[in-house]
Symmetry: C2
C-alpha cells in the first residue's frame, strides 16, 4: 500500500497507505477518553512468539485506511473544539489577503488558492491562551494529556514491560521518567523545559512535545525557492516527510506564492509547522533588506498567526553590537535570517527592530499560542567559525529574550548550530542550558566536518546524535543536497531516516526507558532469521527488503536460516543454540537429556559426540542455492 492519490494536476498528489505489516491503532488516555492518540503497531509474524510492537506515529490520517484523504478539503479540524471549550478566544474576520502576501505574483504564475476558508480565532485579553499559561495555572490541557499518552508508546502504566526497567544510559542531567503522566507534561511546560507548538488556529494538529525529558524529535525543512519547485511538490514533501517520521516541518519557502503554499501545507498537516516570517517579509519589499520595517514585519506575523503557523523562527538576537564580531570569520553570516537582519542594522545603523520590538512580538504571538524558536542568526557556517564570540554573544541574548517571552506567557525553544567539530559540541549544549534556563534546544545538525558536500546528512547526523544525547530536544535534519540545492523527495526521505537514527541513538544513550524495546525486538528477529520481521521493525522496511532481495529474492529465503553474507553452508547464528545447550550442561545435565548420574564432565563429552554427529548435515548446500537464484 503505497499509493500516490489523485493524479489530478489541480491538486497535490500525496502518498497514503500503511507502512508494510503495520496497523494504525489509537490509544485512549484515562484522563480524556474522548481523545484518540495514534500509534503504529508493527505486526510481527506468528513465529515471533512475542507481542506486536507499537511505535510513535507522526504520519497522521494519511496512513489511516478509515480516512478518505482529500487534499483540497484539508484534514479534519478536531482540535478547534478543544480550544473553544476552554474559552477565552474569539472568532473574527481576520486580515485580508493582499497581493504582496504572494510576492505580487502575476496571474500566470499564481498558484491555485486553497479552497476552504476558516475564520481565525485569537485569545482575548485577560484570559489564558498558551500552554505555558495553563501549565503555570496548574491546568492540564487536552494537548498535555495527548502528548503524555503519545510519549508512552502504547505502554499503559509504569514498567508494564520489564525491559523498560533495564534501560541504562548517561543522561547528562536530563530526567526522563519511566512513565510520562499528564502532570509531568504540565510541570515540564510550566518550567519552560518543554513546549507543545500548537497555534490555536492549527486545528488539524496532532499535538507533540519538544523537551529533553521526552523522546528526541526531528524537524524536516521543505519549501520552494525562487528557482525551483511548486506548491504541489511542497505539500507532497510534507506528507512524505511525516510518513517517515518528521515530528515537525518547517516551510522555508521564498519567492512568490508563499502565502498560498503555506495555506495548503497547514490545512493538510497533522504536525506543527514552523516558518521564518522574515523570509516572507523580505519578499514584500522586493527582496531588499534595507526596506524592511517593523510595521511590515508585524503585519506578516499577524498573517501567519491567523493561518495557524505553530512556531516562528525569530532572529531577535542578531544585535547591532554583535555584527562586527563576524567580520573575520571564514564564512561570515550564513543564516539567511541573520544576514537579512545584519544588513538592515548596518544600513540603518540601528538596533534590530526584532530586538527593540520584542515585547510587542511576544504579545502578538501569545494571542495565538505561537511558540518562539529564537533563531541563531550568527551561527557558524564552517568548522573554522564554531563556538566563536559572535555565536555565543547571540546565545546570551537569546537567554535574555527567553525570560522576557516566558514573562509574557509564551512558549520558547532556542535554535543552535550548524557546523561544529565533535569536541566543541558539548559546550554548545551546556551553555544553552545555562543561558536559556533549560528552554528546549533545537539544532541544525551540527555538521562535524565540511569536506563532504553531497553527504551532509551524514556529517551532520554524527553531530546530531551526539547533541541529542547531550540534551538537545529537537534535531533539524540536513539532507544530502545541503549546500548544493533544494531537497527533492528522495533527499527528504534520506534526511528524515538519518535523523530518526540520530534521535533514536540519542534516546538510547540518554537511557529513555522504552527506547531499547525496538532495538531488542529487531535484534531478536535478526537472530531468529525472521527476515520479514527484521525489515518491518526497521525505520525503512521498503529499502531493507529491496537490499535483501537483490541477492536472495525468493519468498522461501525470507524464512531461510542463512543470508547472503555467509551463505547457507555455515552460519554463526546457528552456533548459539549449541552454546545454550552447552551452558545448560554446566548448570543442569538432565535438562539436555543426559544421565543425571554422570558428572558435568560426562555431560559435556556426550554433547561433544552429539555435535560431531550433526556435522554439517544441518546446513543446506551452497551451490544449490546459488543455482536456484540463477534460474530466476
Amino acid at each position: 500500500m503505497n499509493i500516490r492519490s489523485n493524479p489530478d494536476t489541480t491538486r497535490p498528489a500525496v502518498t497514503t497507505g500503511l507502512l508494510p505489516s503495520s496497523r494504525k491503532i489509537f490509544s485512549t488516555p484515562d484522563a480524556a477518553p474522548d481523545l484518540r492518540v495514534p500509534l503504529r503497531e508493527i505486526i510481527l509474524s506468528e513465529a515471533a512468539g512475542e507481542p506486536n510492537l507499537p511505535v510513535y506515529d507522526t504520519s497522521g490520517p494519511y496512513t489511516d485506511p478509515s480516512v478518505t484523504i482529500d487534499v483540497n478539503a484539508g484534514l479534519s479540524r478536531n482540535r478547534l473544539a478543544w480550544v473553544k471549550e476552554r474559552g477565552g478566544v474569539e472568532e473574527y474576520a481576520g486580515r485580508e489577503i493582499k497581493p504582496e502576501d504572494n510576492g505580487n505574483v502575476g496571474a500566470s504564475h499564481a498558484a491555485k488558492a486553497f479552497t476552504a476558508h476558516h475564520k481565525p480565532i485569537r485569545g482575548l485579553d485577560g484570559h489564558k491562551i498558551t500552554q505555558l499559561e495553563f501549565a503555570r495555572a496548574g491546568i492540564i490541557t487536552k494537548e498535555m494529556i495527548y502528548v503524555a499518552e503519545r510519549e508512552n508508546l502504547g505502554r499503559k502504566k509504569q514498567l508494564e514491560r520489564a525491559e523498560a526497567a533495564l534501560a541504562d544510559g548517561e543522561s547528562f542531567g536530563a530526567e526522563v521518567p519511566a512513565f510520562i503522566t499528564p502532570e509531568f507534561v504540565r510541570s515540564e511546560i510550566a518550567r519552560g523545559r518543554a513546549i507543545i507548538p500548537s497555534n490555536i488556529n492549527h486545528a488539524e494538529l496532532e499535538p507533540m512535545i519538544i523537551g529533553r525529558n521526552f523522546l528526541t524529535k526531528i524537524n524536516a525543512n521543505i519549501g520552494n525557492s525562487a528557482v525551483t519547485s511548486s506548491v504541489e511538490e511542497e505539500v507532497d514533501k510534507m506528507v512524505w516527510a511525516i510518513r517517515w517520521g518528521a515530528d515537525t516541518v518547517m516551510d522555508l519557502s521564498t519567492g512568490r506564492n508563499i502565502h498560498t503554499t503555506r495555506e495548503w501545507i497547514l490545512r493538510n498537516s497533522p504536525v506543527p509547522i514552523g516558518t521564518v516570517p522574515i523570509y516572507q517579509a523580505l519578499e514584500k519589499c522586493e527582496g531588499d533588506p534595507v526596506k524592511l520595517t517593523w510595521e511590515l514585519y508585524k503585519d506578516t506575523l499577524i498573517e501567519q498567526c491567523e493561518q495557524g503557523v505553530d512556531y516562528f523562527t525569530i532572529h531577535a538576537g542578531v544585535r547591532l553590537p554583535y555584527i562586527h564580531l563576524t567580520a573575520n570569520r571564514v564564512t561570515g553570516i550564513v543564516s539567511r535570517g541573520g544576514s537579512i537582519m545584519a544588513k538592515w542594522c548596518l544600513a540603518h545603523h540601528k538596533e534590530s527592530f526584532l530586538y527593540t520590538h520584542f515585547d510587542e512580538i511576544c504579545d502578538l504571538m501569545r494571542k495565538y499560542d505561537v511558540s518562539f524558536s529564537l533563531g541563531d542568526g550568527l551561527r557558524p557556517g564552517s568548522i573554522a567559525d564554531a563556538n566563536d564570540r559572535a555565536q555565543f554573544a547571540e546565545l546570551e541574548t537569546l537567554g535574555e529574550l527567553t525570560k522576557i517571552a516566558w514573562d509574557k506567557g509564551c512558549q520558547v525553544m532556542i535554535e543552535g548550530p550548524g557546523h561544529v567539530p565533535m569536541h566543541k559540541i558539548k559546550i554548545n549544549m551546556d551553555k544553552q542550558l545555562k543561558e536559556c534556563g533549560e528552554a528546549p534546544f533545537y539544532t541544525l545538525g551540527p555538521l562535524t566536518t565540511d569536506i563532504a558536500p553531497g553527504y551532509d546528512h551524514i556529517t551532520s547526523g554524527i553531530g546530531a546524535a551526539m547533541i541529542g544525547w547531550f540534551g538537545c530536544a529537537m534535531l533539524c535534519y540536513v539532507t544530502p543536497k545541503e549546500h548544493l540545492g533544494l531537497p527533492d523527495r528522495n533527499d527528504v526521505k534520506t534526511g528524515v531516516i538519518t535523523y530518526k537514527i540520530a534521535a533514536h541513538a540519542s534516546d538510547l544513550a540518554k537511557g529513555h526507558p522504552a527506547a531499547q524495546l525496538r532495538d531488542d525486538a529487531l535484534s531478536r528477529a535478526r537472530f531468529d532469521f525472521r527476515w520479514t520481521d527484521q525489515f518491518n521493525l526497521g525505520l525503512d522496511p521498503d529499502t531493507a527488503k529491496s537490499f535483501h532481495d537483490e541477492t536472495l529474492p525468493k519468498e522461501a529465503h525470507k524464512v531461510a536460516h542463512f543470508c547472503s553474507m555467509c551463505g547457507p553452508k555455515f552460519c554463526s547464528m546457528k552456533i548459539t543454540q549449541d552454546v545454550r545447550d552447552y551452558a545448560a550442561t554446566l548448570n543442569d545435565p538432565a535438562s539436555v537429556g543426559m544421565s543425571v548420574s554422570g558428572t558435568i564432565e560426562d555431560g559435556m563429552k556426550q554433547m561433544s559426540e552429539k555435535f560431531k554427529e550433526m556435522g554439517s548435515s544441518v546446513y543446506l548446500d551452497a551451490e544449490k542455492v546459488k543455482e536456484s537464484n540463477r534460474v530466476l
Copy 2:
C-alpha cells in the same frame, strides 16, 4: 577521466584515471630520496588565490596517468628491493597450491588463475624481519620513512602553514605531533602503539601506518560468498574502494576460489590486504568447524603468508571458559570466526587450538612480518549485548596475547565491536588501551542502534566517528547492505565515503594539526561561490557536482554568486562583505574612503548611505534564472 579499462571478460575491468581537477604528485623524503610517496593535489581555480591542496592518496597507480595498468600482470613490485637490501630473508620454492585451497572447485566453476608466479621469501632465523624488530633495534626502515612522509600530507617541515598551529582538539591522551618524522614513526612502532602492516611478500605495497597518533584510517571489506559474486567483481571492488579512500582492504571471501581470488587481489593491491584465515581453513574441511585441526589451519597460514597477506584476523581470544558467557545474549555469537571457534571448542570440549598454539602462530607470522589483528570473536551483535562479560573477558585475553606476540617480535592490532550505544563507546576504547598496552584499536563501527537495516553505514558512522575521536586507530566500514546482503560497487563507495567522514571528523576533534586545512579550504571556496572548487575539495566531487547540477546545470552557474537554496535575489553570503566594510569603519574610517576627520559615528552614517544606494541592484533577477533553466 573515469575509465573502466579492459572490457575483456577474461580479466577484471577496473576504474582508472584521476579524480576531477586532480594531479598525482610524489613527495621525496629527505631521508630516502629514492622513495616516491604519492599524494593527490587538488587543483584550485585561479580565483582561489591560494595554493592547491595536497591530500592523502590511497588510490595507488590506478590514478597515475603515467602508469599503464595491466591487471593480468599486477602492479610493479618495487618494495621487494627494500626488503632484500636489508637482508635476513631467503627466496624459496614455497608451498604447492592444492585443490582444497580453492575449495576443491571443479573445472566448470574454477576461476582463471593469476598469470605470473612469484617465488615467496621468508625471514631467516636470527635476523630481524618485522618492522617491530627493526624499530626496537633503533633502525628506521624505508617503510617508516615512507609513512612519515605520507602522514605529513605534503607539508615539508614543521608548521610550514600557519593554520596547522591553530588546530585545537581534545585528544584523550593521544599525542599527535605537529610534524611526523621517521624517528617518531620508529618510536611509536617500537612501543607497539602503531603498526605498518607489510608482509615481505606483498611487494606491490605502498606502506601505511595504523596508530592513534597518526591519521585515522579506514578499512573496506570485500569478498565473495558462496552465494554471490566473482573474482572479477572483487578485484574491481578493491580498486574502487581505494579510489575513494580505503586505507586497507580485507578479503573476506568464502566458498570456492578463495586462493585464486586472493592472488588476483594481492598482486593488484597497493594497500595492505587483511584476511580471516579460518574462513579458508573451514572451506578445506567441507564447512564443518568440528573437523578443523591445527595442522590444517597452520598450512592455511603458510599459504597466505607466502601470498603476501599483510594482516590476519585471529580469534585466539575465544576461549572455552568464555563460551557459556554468551548463552543468555540476545544475539549470541555473531562473529563468524568466533562462532567457528566456539563450535570447535564445544564439539571437542577443548581449549581453542588458536590459543594453545599461539606461540607457533607468532613464530610463523614473524617470518613474513604478517601483523596480528586479534579478532573479537565474542563481540556484541546487538545493542542489548554491548559491553557484557563475554566481550570483556575476551578483550582481557587479547591483552595477554598482545604481550606474547610483542615478545615474539610481531606487530599487533586489536579488533573491537560492533554494536554499542553511544554512552558505552568510550569504555570500550579506554579498556582496550589499558588491557592491550596501547596497541592500535580497529573497530567495526560501532553501530549505535539496531533499528535501521539498510542504513547501517549511518548507524555505525556515528559510533565510528566517536570511537575514532576517543583513540581508535582504524575504522572498519559498514555498508548500507550490512545484515542484508553483500555490498555491491555502490555500497562499497557509500561505505568508504561515510567512513572517510567519520575518520576525518575524528582527526578534527583529536586536534590533528593538518586536518582542518581541507575543511577551511572548502569553506573558503563555499563562501566565495567557487562552486567547482567546492566540489573538487570534497570527498566525492562527482556526486556534489551532480546534485548541484540538478537545479543549476549551466556552466555559467558554476561561478554564480548564488545557489538554488536562496535563489539569486538575496544571498546571505553577500552580506559579509558589507559587514567587513562596517567593521573597518569601527577600526579605521579612512580605510573605507571616509573622512578621517569625522568620528566613527560619522563613518557609519556614510556607510549606511552607501548601502542604501546599493539597494538590491547588485542581485540578479530570480525569474530570469528560473526561465533560463527551463530552456535547457
